[in-house]
């Protein structure tokens, strides 16, 4: 007997399925402030020689 497989794309979501976090924004709004998105700051504190 073959080991059966199931294609994930055929498995339905929940009836109460919702979008991922941040997937809806207020399209008509003047400012995009409805969702607090990941806020990241990156700065190069170490000169490359000091790394590794």
């Amino acid at each position: 007997m073959n080991i059966p497989t199931i294609d994930v794309s055929t498995v339905p979501g929940l009836a109460s399925a919702q979008g991922l976090f941040g997937s809806i924004t207020q399209a008509s709004a003047s400012y995009d402030d409805s969702v607090v998105l990941v806020m990241v700051y990156v700065y190069d504190v170490l000169p490359p020689e000091a790394v590794g």
Binding site: M1, N2, I3, P4, T5, I6, D7, V8, V11, P12, G13, L14, A15, S16, A17, Q18, G19, L20, F21, G22, S23, I24, T25, Q26, A27, S28, A29, S30, Y31, D32, D33, S34, V35, V36, L37, V38, M39, V40, Y41, Y43, D44, V45, L46, P47, P48, E49
Partner: protein
């Protein structure tokens, strides 16, 4: 592609120049630490921790004073901005040492954060174009308190009423104005900025925020729903990536996640789906286990899916002796 000469120099630069850059950034970091160490900021930070743990603003005197008094809020913000601006003016490539976000006409700096509570500074710039009134509004599971530091703008306040309709009011925001927005039923949108609007914003989110809803302002109908829980959405994404990569080593975690009644429902169901995809036999076993649980909200969806899978796959059906 245009590259600023200062950036180009930095890219070409020997370590010594990069090191100068790093020193300037460290100076900015010092500015931040000095600001954090001032008495005014420490009292607010202590209160923010209390607020995050569930105290009301009224129980947090320093925070209440900050969010009520224009004079106090202005001094609080000025004490930071003046030093940061001075440090930035000395270092062209310096970055404000705070988490920040910049989008069209809006800049946000996250000043202090403790668990779900965050104090931010937001600046809305005039866009110079007329805007049409919004037809929908987003209601998030986030309590918001705001005080206008500077500027002037027209805004709208939307509140979901008891009968499900939305009440919308136009408001004019001026320095010293305060707003308090309850989670999921109130929101405000900035419509038209006349003079750059600077707002100090205090927000609080629960550990597991409930979904965000987009509501039609005319009818009150819910148009779309999205997760309000960022970490749950990250888990859903992680599960689907593991599934797509055929990470069989993750099957144990997927199975545990699917069966963990404490876990977010969307995350659990994604774990069910990916377990089925990676190992149909184990997935069916998970479905059977869920379908037998009396109080589990996944009981019915699992029973339905089990029925569907076993009907479509006679081989699987033969593996599981239990009649369905």
């Amino acid at each position: 592609m245009k590259v600023h000469p200062a950036i180009a120099a930095l890219r070409r630069s020997p370590a010594s120049v990069r090191s100068d850059h790093a020193d300037s950034q460290i100076n900015l970091e010092h500015v931040r630490l000095e600001w954090l160490a001032t008495d005014a900021v420490r009292s607010v930070a202590d209160d923010l921790a209390l607020y995050a743990r569930g105290h009301s603003i009224g129980q947090c005197p320093a925070l209440r004073e900050l969010m009520d008094s224009h004079a106090t809020a202005s001094v609080f913000v000025d004490s930071l901005c003046q030093d940061v601006i001075r440090a930035l003016s000395e270092q062209m490539l310096g970055e404000a040492p705070f988490r920040f976000r910049v989008s069209h006409g809006l800049a946000t700096l996250q000043l202090l954060t403790f668990q779900g509570a965050t104090l931010s500074l937001a600046a809305y710039e005039p866009l110079g174009v007329g805007s049409n009134p919004s037809e929908t509004a987003l209601f998030c599971d986030r309590a918001v308190d705001e005080i206008v530091i500077a500027g002037q703008a027209k805004a709208r306040h939307h509140a979901i009423m008891a009968e499900g309709m939305v009440k919308s009011d136009t408001i004019e925001l001026r320095p010293g104005d305060t707003l308090g927005l309850r989670p999921l039923i109130e929101m405000r949108e900035i419509v038209d900025v006349e003079r750059s609007l600077v707002i100090l914003q205090l927000t609080r989110e629960p550990d597991r925020p409930r979904p965000t809803r987009e509501v039609d302002l005319q009818t009150g109908a819910i148009l779309r729903i999205a997760s309000g829980d960022k970490s749950a959405s990250q888990s859903v994404m992680a599960l689907s990536v593991l599934g797509a990569l055929k990470s069989y080593g993750a099957l144990d975690v997927m199975e545990r996640t699917a069966l963990n009644a404490e876990e977010n429902l969307e995350v659990r169901w994604e774990a069910v789906r990916q377990t089925l995809g990676l190992g149909a036999v184990r997935g069916v076993a998970v479905l059977q286990s869920l379908a037998k649980r009396a109080d589990d909200p996944l009981r019915q969806p699992a029973a339905n899916l089990l029925n569907q899978v076993l009907t479509a796959q006679p081989d699987l059906s033969r593996l599981f002796k239990e009649p369905m």
